[in-house]
């Protein structure tokens, strides 16, 4: 199937080659095939598809991934809910919420 993309201009993802030891962990955890391990080198091949889930950053043992993981989810309903409550975007808690069930 054709892959869906969202806005890429606002993405913050980057990989610092000097810190990276090419362990390949980021390749394994990314749900959108943003990274590739080829000839023992890891590089970004699909930056546009990044959804800023933060999995790569959290699992990079070298701290080689730059990502500005915002406070909340990519969810308009959550942002509205948060604005109402005067908090960060929220999914409405486990009992409510449209998505986070």
């Amino acid at each position: 199937m054709e892959r869906l993309r969202y806005f890429s201009e606002v993405l913050t993802l980057d990989l610092i080659q000097e810190k990276c030891n090419n362990c390949g962990m980021c390749v394994k955890v990314c749900p959108h095939e943003v990274f590739e391990l080829k000839d023992k080198k890891v590089r970004i091949i699909g930056r546009d598809f990044c959804m800023e889930c933060g999995a790569c950053k959290r699992n990079c043992p070298q701290g080689a991934i730059v990502l500005d993981v915002g406070d909340g989810c990519g969810c308009a309903a959550g942002i509205i809910q948060g604005a109402f409550n005067g908090t960060a975007p929220t999914c409405g808690g486990p009992d409510k919420g449209t998505c986070c069930n």
């Binding site: 199937m1 054709e2 869906l4 993309r5 969202y6 806005f7 606002v10 993405l11 913050t12 962990m25 394994k28 955890v29 990314c30 749900p31 959108h32 095939e33 598809f49 990044c50 959804m51 800023e52 889930c53 933060g54 999995a55 959290r58 699992n59 043992p61 500005d68 993981v69 915002g70 406070d71 909340g72 989810c73 990519g74 969810c75 308009a76 309903a77 959550g78 942002i79 509205i80 975007p89 999914c91 486990p94 009992d95 919420g97 449209t98 998505c99 986070c100 069930n101």
Partner: protein, 382 residues
């Protein structure tokens, strides 16, 4: 993996991973199955397995009609909050101290998916306390996280139950779990399995290697279709609010206010609101990849416009030309708003992107709504 069915694009948490090595037993107030007598009221528990850490409840890998009924209810948003499993360790089949340990969330849907796909396998299933939220969303919030995993390993005395030191986690849990920190603190190596629980058998067959295909999150037609019922229920509040507000306002006429007029208008207004609702909640998600633009709200606007134009051409809109135009603007705006809310259910939107989208979309929706109101005011005035 349990997340494969219902997910949001949640991916962020500002949880501080403050790892503690010593955890007081049961400080959550939760019952850990390994320390308590096997509860018999849970229909999926079918026995117990003796281990060095005590008796571990054994669960069935077959779902019965009650599980399916429960899953159906969850889809339609009925009593979803009560759909949880006690966190702790469970046995599937007859596992021993060398068997694999799979980890999942205590959302019953996730739990059911995993145990169903472990049918025929002897394994341990470690259920984390995610407050009844699926793996991906919980990982985004940090409840399916390093801290909870390490705590659960200790609470269940996992190091006594097995002699190996490997855990298999759903890949989407990676947003909340730092594999290297888990290893450092607990000694257990985290292996990330497939995204979807249905790939577990193939993953085990492939010697614990998740193929490219297994690692990728998809969002195909069927995935989107499954989200529709839930969205229909969840957004009902917008539908009802719109219906009531517009009906009440529709009583206004040149001579003041007429209650009868408002009551008479309820049915035609319900039709209009429903048209916007269906365009935004059913059509937009289903046709997502085929509508031009990456913008959800714009996709919704386009479909709202198409649906209302079709109704117009089919002479299905009530009122004069001016009112018809107002209706077209309203349906488009409402559909756009609802479609925008679908960003959360999609699997590829980022927070920064959604914020950017909303900055433009909300004013557009408000302007469209305002145009509709102005047209109606003109109609009355003329």
């Amino acid at each position: 993996m349990g997340c494969s069915d219902q997910k949001c694009g949640c991916g962020n948490s500002n949880e501080l991973v403050s790892l503690q090595l010593k955890v007081p037993a049961n400080d959550y107030g939760c019952k850990t199955p390994s320390n308590d007598p096997v509860p018999t009221s849970k229909p999926y528990i079918i026995g117990g397995i003796e281990t060095r850490a005590g008796e571990i409840p054994q669960i069935s890998a077959r779902l019965d009609w009650k599980d399916y009924l429960g899953a159906f209810k969850v889809r339609w948003g009925i009593r979803r909050d009560q759909y949880r499993v006690d966190p702790g360790l469970y046995a599937v089949g007859i596992p021993n101290d060398r068997s694999d340990i799979f980890v999942t969330a205590n959302y019953k849907f996730s739990f059911d998916l995993v145990r169903k796909n472990l049918n025929g396998v002897n394994a341990w299933l470690l259920v984390l306390d995610t407050k009844g939220v699926n793996v991906w969303c919980a990982a985004g919030k940090g409840t399916f996280g390093t801290k909870e995993l390490v705590r659960r390993i200790q609470l269940t005395s996992l190091d006594k139950v097995v002699i190996h030191r490997r855990l298999i986690l759903p890949q989407l849990g990676a947003t909340g779990v730092a594999a290297h920190l888990v290893k450092e603190v607990s000694g257990f190596t985290v292996i990330y399995g497939p995204v979807r629980a249905t790939d577990i058998p193939a993953f085990v067959q492939a010697n614990y290697k998740a193929s490219k295909e297994m690692r990728r999150v998809k969002f195909d037609w069927y995935d989107r279709l499954k989200l529709v019922p839930n969205d229909i229920i969840y957004n009902m509040r917008y539908l009802l609010t719109m219906l009531i507000v517009i009906s009440v306002l529709s009583g206004i006429n040149a001579n003041g206010y007429s209650m009868q007029q408002a009551l008479r208008n309820i049915v035609p207004i319900a039709k209009i609101v429903a048209a916007g609702y269906i365009a935004g909640i059913v059509f937009t998600p289903l046709l997502l990849p085929y509508i031009p633009t990456r913008n959800f709200s714009f996709k919704g606007l386009i479909l709202g416009a198409i649906v209302s134009m079709l109704l117009f051409l089919n002479h299905s809109l009530d009122g004069g030309l001016m009112v018809n135009f107002a209706e077209i603007f309203f349906i488009s705006s409402f559909s756009s708003f609802l479609a925008m809310n679908f960003t959360g259910a999609s699997t590829y939107t980022s927070l920064a992107g959604v914020k950017k989208e909303m900055k433009i979309a909300i004013p557009v929706q408000v302007i469209f709504g305002a145009i509709a109101v102005m047209l109606l005011v003109l109609e009355i005035a003329i």
